[in-house]
Symmetry: C2
């Protein structure tokens, strides 16, 4: 990873953790609930979605825009964290290990994990409502996040993914599932940052193409790592998707085909950035990182 990107990720990661810590400081009698929310939102993680918010805001609106992106960045991380907590539940993917730690329902209990996920989703919208931005911009961000996270976005993708266990999916169906399950929130991250940065419609279209390409590339790389990385590097059980008989890019395209697909998506992202304008150095490095990461 280039030193510049490493510094950016470290800074945006610290920033979002500070915002999350303040938002999740205990303020009710439900101490286990808050402990579980903190465990889920502030555990180890790549903080990729907050980084995208900050990078897109900075690219179009400079430091002033990035400095107003804390709530949006934290909101995206809350939704991401809630989705992992619920995905890991016994009735869903039934995972015991996440990022090298016990999953939330193992560390606490199932009821607390369900409630912590519910509260984290709600917290995301509370954060957006309190952002230091115009009411017009805040409500636009609420609309973006609600659409991306709901029944026509992330949750639909998770439902399709669950229905796909032991089914054969076409490449098109697999793409659609990932476009919803992980792509929608990644696109929302970049779009929300760009909106805070003052994007016009053409710029919003360009950042969306960029985000859709890296979102899918992220998933392709996940599928590649599921068969090539070992469990300790990955922080989750290696080969878990294959063992569950889920269709993956590797099972449909082979390892070389999946790698070629990741490269193609990387080129698409780079092309979209050329049309975005602004200072796209960090967004480019994020695209590079997503395709070349080893965990």
């Amino acid at each position: 990873m280039p030193a510049k990107l490493r510094a950016f990720l470290q800074s945006s990661g610290l920033q979002v953790e500070q915002t999350l810590k303040a938002a999740l400081a205990e303020q009710s009698d439900a101490s286990a609930l808050f402990a579980a929310m903190n465990y889920a939102a502030l555990g180890p993680g790549k903080r990729l979605r907050p980084a995208l918010v900050y990078a897109a805001a900075q690219a179009l609106g400079g430091t002033a825009a990035a400095d107003k992106s804390h709530e949006a960045a934290a909101a995206l991380e809350c939704v991401h964290a809630y989705s992992l907590v619920h995905d890991d539940l016994p009735a869903m993917d039934d995972d015991d290990l996440r990022r090298g730690r016990p999953t939330c329902h193992i560390q606490f209990d199932e009821a607390t994990a369900i409630l912590a996920g519910d509260a984290l989703q709600c917290q995301a919208f509370e954060l957006l409502a309190g952002a230091p931005l115009s009411a017009e911009l805040r409500i636009r961000l609420v609309a973006e996040l609600a659409h991306a996270a709901g029944a026509r976005g992330m949750v639909a993708g998770q439902a399709i993914d669950l229905a796909a266990v032991n089914q054969s999916l076409s490449l098109e169906q697999l793409k659609q599932m990932h476009r919803l399950k992980t792509g929608a929130l990644i696109s929302a991250s970049a779009r929300m940052g760009a909106l805070i940065g003052g994007a016009n419609e053409a710029q919003l279209a360009a950042i969306t193409r960029y985000a859709e390409a890296i979102g899918l590339a992220f998933q392709v790389q996940d599928d590649i790592l599921d068969v090539t990385a070992d469990t300790s590097t990955l922080g989750k059980t290696q080969g878990a998707d294959a063992a569950r008989n889920k269709p993956t890019y590797v099972s449909l395209l082979g390892l070389d085909g999946a790698r070629a697909k990741a490269d193609e998506l990387h080129r698409e992202a780079t092309d979209a950035l050329a049309q975005l304008g602004g200072n796209t150095a960090v967004l480019q490095q994020l695209a590079d990182y997503i395709v070349h990461r080893d965990h």
Copy 2:
């Protein structure tokens, strides 16, 4: 029930169902998810929260305000429906029957019920973001709902309730649990309607006192019905709370004490309405109904 209240509830119920049907018309590949969302949000129910939104908006802003309250009313019903779906899950209250029908995870499956609840919460914020109101008012409604539904409101109450099984609670702790678990959303319903109706700060304080009183009265009456009504009238298992060894107003105050408490709260609600001003006839009849209902 007076004819005027019956007509009001019928009209506001039809209105919110129409809004929900339009919002939940299937628009993704996840057909089971949408079926479960519709099942949960559009099944039989009192539609009390939407009625409060409409009644508060109408009291302060007349028909014009009520006509702009559809999205807020539907948003409240989405959050209420999601909370019931998740509360009924095996890891939570483990209920098979709700309003005389199989609960969502029995009718579908557990994973679909978790996801339908998640998506219904998200849908609530999407509805508010698209309401025909100023951006300032919409973001205020988002802030109200997010605060009431989250870790310092409804979800905290559910967490405290779960922790209270087989515990002895003081009357104060029981009140605090209900204030969060059901009271927060009922207060938000009345407050959001009042805000759409153009409430000033004094009116917002009065409607909040009214709503807190009827919210608690609703729960006291629930506890009374849990021991006095039979299962077919109730639409859920009679005596379920007592069997689960949960503390209730009846177990702490006795049946007569609980009835006296309900009457006291009814007087508080009536006093608060006297300070609200506006046309409070329907709000008064709603308070009467909550204390005198038999299911």
